[in-house]
């Protein structure tokens, strides 16, 4: 008995003797393929350790809660803005990442980081509508407009089969866009109007769901969802792969949608900036980013990567929007504390009323 206890105790000690060359990446769930990781590890002779988040707010909250030691993060634009403003990022030495020139010019010099001083584009997604094609046709629901999830006259036909994102900013953005306002609206009156729109539609929704909606869509429990383009692509593939008796489709509503560009940034508390640069340059080469595009349908800002992207994905206008669609897309910007508090109160009302 004693021997067992001692053995157990000793077994816990070796936890300290981990690999020496470790790069720590804080990334979205399912945002890099196994092959990409292995190729990188082989190429640099190091090991890549990942931790995951499923929401920018979660990542920022955990960083604010003291998470440290991450070499690389993959925040969306507004999160990059917050990180720069709170002085958490290391400026990038462009000399160490020559492959930056592979990025399509329209994705450089974004509003949150002119000159790409702190970030390089990683991948992007759109927040759009995903649906069960057969069911939408059967119930005659127009899927090219946000009215599909906000108008009771459509919702009553599919009551209980619709989910929306469990994200303050995303849901309010969709409502604001549908009402014709900016996704970054700060006027109290217009935010309240968005809240009212949401509350009017809420009784018809099944749930606020940010994590498992695409799985439920693929299984067939849900017929219409507000979510991310790469999640819908995955649902489409899964449903097809599991030979479900329906097909999943996804469309960018004509009123506009939220565009989220995720970026690689270096966190100040990271211990291996050298490995971090290697990874950034590796990602900018394009093979790895093409692999994730092929796996989950993530939007790819890399010109060189396009040669490896499967044609049916490259031609999908909901993953690679053309210029006309691009004009209708909006990026979310961080709110000031007062508006944030207002939104918090409105969100509680949305959740409780």
């Amino acid at each position: 008995m004693r021997a067992v206890l001692w053995a157990l105790l000793l077994a816990t000690v070796p936890g300290l003797a981990a690999a020496q060359d470790v790069l720590r990446l804080f990334n979205w769930n399912n945002y890099i393929t196994e092959d990409s990781v292995q190729r990188f590890e082989r190429g640099c002779g190091c090991s890549l350790e990942q931790d995951y988040y499923s929401d920018n707010e979660e990542m920022l909250a955990k960083l604010a809660a003291g998470a440290s030691g991450y070499d690389l993060l993959v925040p969306t634009g507004n999160a990059v803005q917050a990180l720069i403003a709170s002085n958490q990022l290391r400026p990038l030495d462009h000399a160490q990442i020559p492959n930056l020139s592979n990025i399509k010019p329209e994705f450089l010099n974004q509003w949150f980081d002119p000159g790409n001083r702190y970030s390089v584009p990683y991948a992007y997604s759109l927040t759009i509508l995903g649906y069960n094609i057969e069911k939408m046709k059967a119930f005659e629901i127009p899927v090219d407009t946000w009215a599909a999830i906000f108008e009771p006259r459509y919702l009553e036909r599919v009551k209980g089969k619709v989910t929306v994102l469990d994200s303050q900013r995303e849901l309010f953005a969709a409502a604001l866009i549908y009402l014709g306002y900016s996704a970054n609206e700060t006027s109290e009156g217009r935010l309240r109007a968005a809240r009212d729109l949401i509350l009017r539609a809420k009784p018809y929704w099944a749930a606020f769901n940010a994590g498992s909606y695409f799985k439920e869509l693929a299984i067939g429990n849900i017929w219409l969802a507000h979510g991310y383009s790469n999640d819908f692509y995955t649902a489409q593939q899964d449903a097809h792969g599991a030979a479900r008796p329906f097909t999943i489709g996804f469309t960018t509503p004509k009123e506009g949608a939220v565009f989220a560009l995720d970026n690689l940034v270096m966190h100040k508390t990271g211990r291996r900036p050298d490995l971090a640069y290697k990874f950034i340059d590796y990602w900018l080469q394009g093979r790895a980013s093409a692999e994730i595009t092929n796996l989950i349908g993530a939007g790819n800002p890399n010109r060189v990567a396009m040669q490896w992207v499967r044609p049916e994905i490259a031609e999908n206008r909901n993953i690679f929007p053309d210029a006309a669609r691009f004009r209708r897309l909006q990026s979310l910007r961080d709110y000031d504390p007062r508006t944030r508090r207002l939104l918090n109160r409105l969100w509680v009302e949305v959740k409780v009323r």
Partner: protein
């Protein structure tokens, strides 16, 4: 004399370390949480500084959080809903656990241990897995994202906590009391209601407390299985800390929840004492 001092020394040596540990890691954090509820949220999360914040920013102490909480009925509603869910869960658990506990208490000794083990085994699975099982089960029956889903999972996760205290209490009951009641002409129902149930009240209270209180703070179950109207206090607190980064507000909510729990525990203890005095 020497023995007295040795006694005090022993007292501090034995009771000291756990006392210090808990003061440091339980009492201090609790008090700090209370203090945090009077602060502003930091620009990017955490707490705003007490003094000398950025110009135009907020710093110092404030009653803002409390003003919002008491100023809007909606927070009272959400607390009420959470208490409702907790109450229903407790009652359902009680109804399900009682027959089983009675059966175990009345079984012959060798079988009793096995039956208790059978009750405790589900506890061996991870809490989230038990929730996940309900996701698999309810999906095909279109019960996912409903109140039923939340309730079923809540009951499922807490049932063993109700069974064990009940059984422990029932096991100590003197069977001759029931025989006497039967001889005096009481039927089965009367025997239960007039004899067994009152004697089991301490077990009932213990089990109810072990179910009611944890349910109040639950967020994982409503989050995974809940629908649009299944947002509870626990979810609001969790979102305050790990969603919207409004720590002071979350601290204030936690304090309110703690006060409610203490009030209920106090009321339960008072009722229990009165019940014991009467019995």
């Amino acid at each position: 004399m020497i023995k007295l001092r040795a006694d005090t020394v022993t007292r501090w040596l034995v009771g000291g370390p756990p006392f210090l540990f808990l003061v440091l890691f339980f009492l201090a954090p609790a008090l700090i949480m209370v203090a945090a509820s009077f602060r502003y949220p930091g620009e990017f999360g955490g707490l705003a500084p007490l003094f000398g914040g950025a110009p135009g920013g907020e710093s110092g102490l404030t009653l803002e959080n409390y003003r919002v909480f008491f100023g809007d009925r909606i927070y009272f509603d959400i607390f009420l809903k959470s208490f409702g869910v907790a109450a229903v869960t407790t009652l359902v658990c009680l109804a399900m656990a009682y027959p089983l506990a009675v059966l175990i208490a009345r079984s012959p000794k060798h079988r009793r241990d096995f039956m208790v083990l059978l009750c405790v085994l589900p506890f061996a699975s991870n809490f989230l897995v038990r929730v996940y099982a309900w996701m698999i089960m309810l999906g095909p029956f279109e019960l996912l994202f409903t109140k039923f889903a939340v309730l079923a999972a809540m009951v499922y996760v807490h049932l063993p906590f109700m069974i064990l205290p009940l059984y422990t209490n029932l096991e100590k009951h003197d069977p001759t009391l029931l025989d006497a009641a039967q001889d005096l002409g009481a039927n089965a129902w009367h025997r239960f209601w007039r004899v067994t149930f009152p004697l089991s009240l301490p077990g009932v209270f213990a089990g109810s407390a072990l179910v009611f209180i944890p349910v109040l703070g639950m967020f994982a179950i409503p989050e995974i299985l809940g629908g649009i109207s299944d947002w509870l206090v626990g979810n609001m607190i969790k979102e305050s800390f790990l969603g919207v980064r409004d720590w002071p507000f979350g601290s204030m909510l936690s304090l309110m929840l703690t006060l409610c729990v203490l009030a209920i525990a106090g009321a339960a203890a008072w009722v229990a004492r009165r019940g014991v005095a009467r019995a």
